[in-house]
């Protein structure tokens, strides 16, 4: 079955948007132009088939793109495992965490129906808590109540109980994603052996490393936050960016340069041009090339699925940027710099 999944994943990846497609999309005027073009591509034809591109809203396009990635994942995991605790259900877990964090962010910003507008209603039957109840939650206690029957309650309770401000929002996010990594490691240990388990775990450790570097960059360089405070918002999973390396970055006066140097040395290996202005893009580029490599050479079905989903997210992110540019009439050359091929 692993071979079949790998082959299927590669076939799906083969239908990705090409550079020529991106070039055409960049020169489309307005969201309707972008949607009209996507309707002509094999990959998005079905997703946009019944959409009226002349009336569609940018938010709806983004919803459709997110839903399309999820439906693709949903279709593929049926070939691997139906067990909801298996590692392959990682995307459901990830989406659950994303919904909780999003709801908390909107509550914190006092946007009454903000989360509702973003809420992916198609996940309503798939998550371990009531999505509608979450959308109606107006305080942190109500959020805790919604997730009371889930493992997230245990993670969030110490952080949210009695807290009414957004001071601990970052910590909540880190705690939830740390829980996710912990869960993933357990599932991997349970289901995979030796090299397969090692390579799957490595993905998470790499992501944790890159996330930590990004957090350091934002908090140190942009907001100049306190070293100890920054450390609290980091994931406690390390691969190449060890606590010593983090200490080293945070101790530097010119953290930017040090961080770029380490990012290059540890991950990008000078293959990707790294500019502090486009740090996020550089990391996405790294992820993209890493997943492409994995998808090309792996014989592990789960790894192929994970890589394909990673690449789909990269493509979705590219399209979001194109749609945003089309909506706000940005120059194609500027938007092109933000795309990852």
């Amino acid at each position: 079955m692993a071979d079949a999944i790998t082959a299927k994943a590669r076939a799906i990846y083969g239908k990705r948007l090409t550079k020529e497609d991106y070039n055409n999309l960049l020169h489309k005027s307005g969201v309707s132009g972008v949607v009209a073009y996507l309707k002509t591509t094999e990959r998005y034809r079905a997703a946009f088939a019944n959409v009226n591109e002349n009336q569609i809203h940018r938010g709806q396009v983004e919803h459709i793109l997110e839903k399309q990635v999820f439906e693709l994942y949903d279709k593929l995991i049926r070939f691997i495992s139906a067990d909801k605790d298996s590692f392959c259900s990682y995307m459901i877990k990830e989406l659950e965490i994303k919904q909780i964090v999003s709801a908390l962010v909107h509550i914190n910003a006092s946007q009454k129906d903000g989360y509702l507008r973003e809420m992916p209603a198609y996940l309503a039957d798939r998550l371990s808590f009531d999505l509608m109840k979450l959308s109606k939650a107006s305080s942190w206690e109500e959020v805790l109540d919604v997730v009371s029957d889930t493992p997230y309650h245990k993670v969030l309770k110490p952080l949210l109980k009695g807290s009414q401000t957004g001071e601990r929002l970052d910590e909540c996010s880190v705690a939830l994603y740390s829980y996710f990594i912990k869960w993933a490691f357990k599932a991997i240990d349970r289901e995979y052996k030796d090299d397969e388990a090692k390579s799957l775990k490595e993905i998470f450790l790499r992501q944790s490393d890159l996330s930590n570097l990004m957090i350091c960059y934002r908090k140190k360089s942009l907001f100049n936050e306190d070293k100890e405070q920054i450390k609290k918002s980091l994931y406690e999973y390390y691969y190449r960016v060890t606590p010593a390396v983090i200490d080293d970055i945070l101790s530097q006066q010119d953290a930017d340069k040090r961080l770029l140097y380490l990012l290059n040395k540890l991950y990008l290996k000078d293959k990707i041009e790294c500019d502090p202005m486009f740090l996020e893009i550089s990391v996405r580029r790294y992820n993209s090339s890493f997943f492409k490599k994995q998808l090309s050479f792996t014989s592990n079905g789960t790894m192929a699925l994970y890589s394909l989903m990673g690449l789909c997210q990269v493509e979705r992110s590219n399209l979001q940027k194109i749609i945003e540019s089309a909506r706000y009439e940005r120059l194609p050359e500027e938007t092109e710099k933000l795309l990852v091929y």
Partner: protein
């Protein structure tokens, strides 16, 4: 063989007759126009005629009208149409337009109404179950109602807004959307509309003429759609009647208009001076008299025949003319490329070999007749281009099928040739072979024999084609497809046949040295032999400084030529020193280069420096006084002036440097080393020898397909069984059809492959240009 003989004609006359002359040329269907050498820069005082057609806008109107009326535009005889000026045509089309436009507007209105009703009907159908009258809904003053569709994902989110002041009705859910109607007080409409907008609601505006509830509205709309469809049919019928009424005249008038309009486009090929026009073109020789009479009937126009190759910028086009038997095979020749006008048409050779090889490979009396019948049907019914070929190859297939004794795979009805005692005894069998598989060795040897003969014929054709060309030595004599190659190939083949077949060993030392080794050595040394011949044996170029044209192809040849000329005659320093000489560097086509001495008059020297596949690059030097005349002469040959390269300028500046010294120096740089000569020579020789073997072996497929056909028919007969039954008949019919469809097609491809790769590659260059006579076309103008 069968390339239509062409005549080059110059047509000249008074300028006011140019359009009429062009129209006559179009009508003749046999005039291939070329850009006159007198046009452009080619002749003193000549200018190319270029003018915008005043008929173009009318032509566009005519085409639009034809489109609207549904008239299929085709050429019609317009002798009886007495319209010549724009106003005549304008009035004619205006009259039809006034009648058509009225109907067209009615049609547009009805189509628009039909579209509206259909859209409304589609929306109303989705609201099945709505029991409120639409008129009441539209009449509401204090509540707002919105029809539209909401993504299914957003429907769930409506629960969140339970406390808001609106009521939402759901009708039908399809394609990820839910058809809804929401009602809200006018006072809250802005807020509610905003909520629905955020949920990606797409509003649909229903027309206010809808009345009754959803079912009644649907019935009413269906009635309206039906009425409009009837109206549309009525208008279409009226347009059809108008078409019938005007069609014949319309086609005649439009044909004439197209001819006149097109004559303006063709003017760009016509040169004019003062009050006269000149144009040139090719006409098939057998139609020349008829053409001349037709064009000269215009009055004040003369048709003058010139030598066919006297036009410097053009070579005659090729029109194949074969008898009915060979004509369908012209398709394959055209597919590969038309022959050069000066070469011969290989169509008869292709036709004979194609029919013969196909027949041998797919020999079956029944199936051959079936292919012929199918070819006749397809030709009459669908005019398929391949059908006449099918008719012919079907017959040869039937003939060879009779020889093989095969009728729809059954080999018992007719006695096969290999079962005739005198034949099988001659083939070395003591008793009659049971089936064709037992004579497979003989078949394969025969296939190679056919290959050898065809390759030798192709080589002979190459020799005949090239023997009169300037490159006869390298192409017709010392080449793998020339006399030397032919001797080697024939000797090797005959020697092998005699030794292996009859046990006569002819490979004696004399035989090997004279007929095998010597040809190989000659082919290996082809380049130095040709070079030596060019230097020593060819007639030397004229040594004076006027009209020197070096008939050379390569840079090295040019140097050799220059060296053979008395150097004192070509000292550039002397020429430049005199101060009355001017030089012009540039390129000229190979054809133009060959015609320099005949086409350019005056005192000049042309030094070719380099050449590529299509052009010769060089410099002409002439006295300043003569330069304008010389320049015109070169321009007429298509000489393209180019900036003088730096090193040529240097020569002119360096007073003591001889041109030949400079060129000899340059040649040294590209001089081949002995090592590279040996390697290149060996590889070319190896490639040539390899091609003899592979080309010959390629013919094995002829024998292979005979056996494959027999094998496939054996499978069919095994599947059918031996007892006559429905199954037997069914399997025989389907099996035979399958074999004809698949193997018949495959054999066709294989034969074509043999023609193109094994035969054509040895002698044929498809570099001819097609004969394209002027014809009236019906295209709107830009």
């Amino acid at each position: 063989m069968a390339i239509e003989k062409m005549a080059l004609v110059h047509i000249e006359g008074t300028l006011k007759r140019v359009n009429k002359a062009l129209i006559k040329c179009c009508e003749s269907n046999c005039f291939h126009i070329i850009t006159s050498s007198k046009g452009g820069d080619g002749g003193k005082g000549f200018r190319a005629l270029k003018s915008k057609s005043p008929f173009a806008p009318i032509m566009n109107r005519a085409m639009a009208l034809a489109d609207g009326l549904g008239i299929e535009i085709k050429k019609a005889d317009y002798d009886d149409i007495d319209m010549n000026v724009t106003i005549d045509f304008d009035n004619y089309y205006k009259d039809i337009e006034s009648r058509y436009n009225n109907l067209f507007e009615q049609k547009l209105k009805i189509e628009e109404a039909l579209k509206d009703h259909s859209t409304s009907l589609m929306q109303v159908e989705k609201m099945a179950g709505l029991d409120t009258d639409f008129r009441d809904i539209f009449a509401c003053k204090y509540v707002k109602l919105r029809f539209g569709r909401l993504p299914v994902d957003s429907v769930l989110k409506l629960d969140y807004y339970d406390d808001k002041n609106f009521i939402c009705y759901h009708f039908k859910e399809e394609n990820g959307y839910s058809q809804i109607l929401y009602v809200t007080p006018a006072a809250d409409a802005v807020e509610i509309d905003d909520i629905f907008d955020s949920l990606f609601f797409e509003r649909i505006h229903l027309p206010d003429y809808i009345k009754g509830d959803a079912d009644e509205a649907k019935t009413e709309l269906l009635k309206l759609v039906k009425e409009e469809n009837e109206n549309l049919e009525t208008v279409k019928a009226k347009i059809g009647a108008l078409k019938l009424e005007v069609e014949d005249d319309f086609l005649k008038v439009t044909s004439k208009l197209a001819s006149i309009d097109q004559s303006y486009d063709l003017r760009q090929n016509v040169a004019a001076v003062n009050n006269k026009f000149f144009m040139s073109g090719y006409v098939p020789k057998r139609k020349l008299k008829e053409f001349t009479e037709s064009v000269e009937s215009v009055g004040d126009v003369r048709v003058i025949e010139k030598p066919v190759d006297s036009e410097p910028n053009s070579s005659p086009p090729v029109l194949l003319h074969n008898c009915w038997l060979f004509r369908p095979f012209e398709m394959f020749v055209k597919m590969y490329g038309l022959p050069n006008y000066k070469c011969f048409d290989p169509t008869p050779y292709v036709a004979v070999t194609f029919m013969l090889i196909y027949g041998i490979m797919f020999g079956d009396l029944g199936q051959g007749i079936l292919i012929t019948v199918l070819g006749i049907i397809l030709d009459k019914w669908k005019h398929v281009k391949l059908a006449p070929v099918m008719q012919r190859i079907g017959i040869t297939s039937a003939v060879f099928g009779t020889l093989y004794g095969s009728v729809f795979g059954n080999e018992e009805i007719i006695k096969p040739f290999f079962k005739i005692p005198s034949v099988y005894e001659a083939l070395g069998y003591s008793s009659a072979p049971k089936d064709i598989f037992q004579v497979s060795t003989v078949l394969l040897i025969a296939a190679i024999g056919i290959g050898v003969v065809l390759v030798l014929i192709s080589m002979a054709m190459n020799i005949v084609t090239n023997i009169k060309t300037p490159n006869w030595l390298s192409e017709a004599v010392i080449s793998p497809n020339g006399i030397v190659g032919m001797i080697f190939y024939a000797s090797a083949a005959v020697g092998a046949a005699l030794t292996l077949g009859l046990g006569i060993n002819v490979f004696t030392p004399v035989y090997i040295i004279c007929l095998i080794v010597l040809p190989l050595v000659l082919m290996f040394l082809k380049e130095p032999i040709v070079s030596f011949f060019n230097k020593v044996l060819r007639p030397k170029a004229k040594a004076d400084t006027s009209n020197i044209v070096h008939a050379v192809k390569t840079y090295s040849d040019a140097v050799a030529e220059l060296k053979s000329v008395n150097e004192s005659e070509i000292l550039l320093d002397k020429l430049t020193g005199l101060g009355f000489v001017k030089a012009q560097y540039g390129s000229v086509s190979l054809d133009g280069y060959k015609k320099i001495s005949s086409a350019v008059d005056g005192d000049y020297v042309f030094y070719p420096f380099q050449s590529d596949e299509s052009n010769v690059y060089g410099v002409y030097i002439a006295p300043v006084k003569e330069m304008p005349v010389i320049e015109r002469g070169f321009a007429a040959l298509g000489f393209k002036k180019m900036k003088m390269p730096e090193h040529i300028e240097d020569i002119r500046k360096e007073q003591n440097l001889h041109l030949s010294d400079y060129m000899a120096e340059a040649v040294k740089k590209e001089h081949k080393s002995v090592g590279s000569f040996i390697i290149e020579g060996f590889i070319e020789l190896f490639e040539g020898c390899l091609s003899y073997v592979t080309n010959t072996m390629s013919f094995l497929r002829i024998g292979g397909f005979i056996l494959s056909h027999a094998g496939m028919m054996l499978v069919v007969s095994t599947l059918a069984g031996s007892e006559m039954s429905v199954k037997y008949i069914l399997v025989q019919i389907l099996g035979n059809l399958f074999v004809i469809g698949m193997e018949g097609f495959l054999v066709g491809i294989q034969v074509l492959r043999l023609e193109f790769y094994e035969i054509f590659s040895r002698f044929y260059k498809g570099d001819g240009k097609p004969f394209c006579p002027l014809v009236t076309t019906f295209e709107p103008n830009d």
